[in-house]
Assembly symmetry: D2
Homo-oligomer: 272 residues x 4
Amino acid sequence: MESWKRKLRMGMVGGGQGAFIGGVHRIAATLDQQIEVVAGCFSRHPENTRITGAELYLDANRCYNSYAEMAAAEAVLPENERIDFVSIVTPNISHFEIAKTFLEAGFHVVCDKPMTYSLDEAEALVKLVEDSGLVFALTHNYTGHPLVRHARALFAEGSMGQIRKGIVEYLQDFLMVPHKKLGQKQAAWRVDPAQSGIGGTMGDVGTHCVNLLEYVTGDPISELCADKSTFLPDRVLDEDVNALLRFKGGGKGVLSISQVATGEENGLGAVP
Amino acid sequence: MESWKRKLRMGMVGGGQGAFIGGVHRIAATLDQQIEVVAGCFSRHPENTRITGAELYLDANRCYNSYAEMAAAEAVLPENERIDFVSIVTPNISHFEIAKTFLEAGFHVVCDKPMTYSLDEAEALVKLVEDSGLVFALTHNYTGHPLVRHARALFAEGSMGQIRKGIVEYLQDFLMVPHKKLGQKQAAWRVDPAQSGIGGTMGDVGTHCVNLLEYVTGDPISELCADKSTFLPDRVLDEDVNALLRFKGGGKGVLSISQVATGEENGLGAVP
Amino acid sequence: MESWKRKLRMGMVGGGQGAFIGGVHRIAATLDQQIEVVAGCFSRHPENTRITGAELYLDANRCYNSYAEMAAAEAVLPENERIDFVSIVTPNISHFEIAKTFLEAGFHVVCDKPMTYSLDEAEALVKLVEDSGLVFALTHNYTGHPLVRHARALFAEGSMGQIRKGIVEYLQDFLMVPHKKLGQKQAAWRVDPAQSGIGGTMGDVGTHCVNLLEYVTGDPISELCADKSTFLPDRVLDEDVNALLRFKGGGKGVLSISQVATGEENGLGAVP
Amino acid sequence: MESWKRKLRMGMVGGGQGAFIGGVHRIAATLDQQIEVVAGCFSRHPENTRITGAELYLDANRCYNSYAEMAAAEAVLPENERIDFVSIVTPNISHFEIAKTFLEAGFHVVCDKPMTYSLDEAEALVKLVEDSGLVFALTHNYTGHPLVRHARALFAEGSMGQIRKGIVEYLQDFLMVPHKKLGQKQAAWRVDPAQSGIGGTMGDVGTHCVNLLEYVTGDPISELCADKSTFLPDRVLDEDVNALLRFKGGGKGVLSISQVATGEENGLGAVP
């Protein structure tokens, strides 16, 4: 098979200058020498894409002004040049459209969480993926940690018994001051419902919590009662959520997350 | 003043052989050489009281068969012999009656938490204390820790700002197996509503959590939504509680406590 | 046996106002209700002894102006009043003479480390104790910790194998500034060879290190090469010691101790 | 400048299948997308080089049978193809010859520590580098950690005062059982003086310790007294070293390292 004789070729949408997570995804994707970045549309601003592409030493012809142009152009490149898959690291609102565009152009997709802006989009995307026969991967990255895998294996083999209590916390403080003061791109879109969707902190870090609990225990959350809060005057989305959880297997739990918890940088922890 | 020329004389109700917390209270009370234990009714079983008193080298005449007998007898001893105060370390149901008895006999009272079995009793006790002019102290012991005092001072002076989020946890596992298997006196009464009252884990360790949060922040809990659970088949009281909290000042929080959290010995923590 | 019907009666030499370790020894001795402090000569200054004795509510007649007076007076008290043993918590230079005095007066002795000011004194003391038939206990207190006992048991039963390497550190900083500036009694005598003997830091905390290593492993240090340092201009005794160790069983090790290691409060650790 | 328009091209000597540190160097070199691996001689065994090169998707023509062949062949490739520098991750004995070969062929060199097999070689290499005008970098990787940089800055600006004591430890246990039992390539050459040189543990992890102490404090070690030990019967090089240190500035210290310290994986720590 040809693909075993070369690195996989990755394109990226998002992750330009001023972005937070795109560079992290590039490092993670390439560090074991199995993937190379060859194309990208790193920003809605062509100049940003051009500069970011140059920093990555990409061919200028493969730094695209829009993701639609990128999907179309890559699809007609020779098979031994074009990207194998796209990595999507844009604000939540655009996940669905970008994923759809690349799937329809015949490319596998790696998409950052949360999957889509709304449940309707998520269901439509599932159907698209099934019809395409292509791979769609969601980067719930914590599931790759050896300790998480080991914990999951212990639950799966039954050696952890039945779950009585699960506690999961994810505390950050990077939204604790008005984002306009920060002038950070990654803060600005996260607090804007038009780009982030209805889930603020819940979509941003709560997804990791729910994913971890369910992935490790194999026991899905069946009921919840949540108290969502917005503290800063210029905010409309939740910045802080506390929730009571009930697991399908009869256990109980709490989820407590925040992006306005002063003094906390990136504190993820769980006690299932 | 005479009392400055001698140690305070303490009597104890509860804390006999097989009890858990009585010995801890004796250590804490006497370690700075300001208090001596001189009398007690350490158990409902006179033989237990006799043995415990002997281990403490008490005068056998001051090891009483009942707390009522103790209050009456001590009250008529000469002023330079009789106890100054009583320390109550019995199951919750008896706190009110014992405290009432000693207050009416003219003695100051140090009582372990929770204060009483019911709210009615608590309100009656407040009135009794006010009328008596005597001291009634509840042993919310964590408030004595220097770090807790310092945290409280930081909140009081305003340097911690306004509270957005408070998290408090207290996880134990000593009730994780059926208490009959354990044969522990302290487990047996805690799970018996007739001795413990309506509060299981909430009364036992939840009180410390609520006390700590409110003591440190100075901001009382104004609303809550709790999910109380009982996992073991032979139990009627809550063994595990998760609660969403709202503080009067507008902050939010979670409380998560358990006495069936396997692997946890005595894990108290708070992030206000 | 009469002694089981009452608390042991302890006298103390040293531990007056301004002293550091005497109060700690009183707490440790009395916290399980088996010992009571009944007499003392807490300082070379009678006024200090008087005040300290009053704070402990001692009979003024049993607060003595000198340890010699104390030994003589206690020896002629009725058997049901006089002390059972003396606890010595004075500067190193006086350990031998005080211990000798009380042994000769017929009292058991608990003495703080290091045992004596010199090896000659130590050997003379061993002989005195043997001839007296009395108990002489040296307070190497760390050997009482459950983890230390467990570690020792693991070595004794052979489950730790043969020792290859032992590392022990004890870092403090309380002598890091000139002691005259501190005005602390406990700093002043420790840096004075006339009161402390030839061992500065080595005698003060190094003894704990050597004791711990040998107690836990059961393998005595057979050779050593040490680098003793004095950093402050007004000091003559060692403030800091590093040593290469060789154990009788063939293992190697290092000892590193200091009382001028800025930022370290009382950092004792060992990896045998 | 042409080099800013493309990734740097790296060749590697060593780091084939069964090696330990080569893969780590490849990850570290490439993770920020500024370097690509394009050539290598990964082993003395051509088959190993061929397989390793294929796993990295290298051009088979640039997987060389010997480092000499590699240096010669790369030197005559067009400027826009040939490597910019070589990364040497072989056993210690070969560092000098490989570095010399590539420097003489005109290539910059990144070499793993320790620099050479002997002091004579090290001095010869310094001269070679000076004459060549090329870059020679030694991978004392811990100096790249932000905390280490910050500590160094604090010492450099004088805010840490004068050094009284420095403690550095590096404890491993991967040589604790006879290496023939392990069948590990990386263990085998480390205990073989013909490949590792005269420095066993001292050359392997002691170099990191000395480098860290001197790099952070800016104060070189001027005197030392070391106790080198070999515990396993089949070993000739040191497996464990304890040393007393004296710094040029008057401070004292200890170094304690081991590769036979059971239970320790990779425990590097320092308290300057």
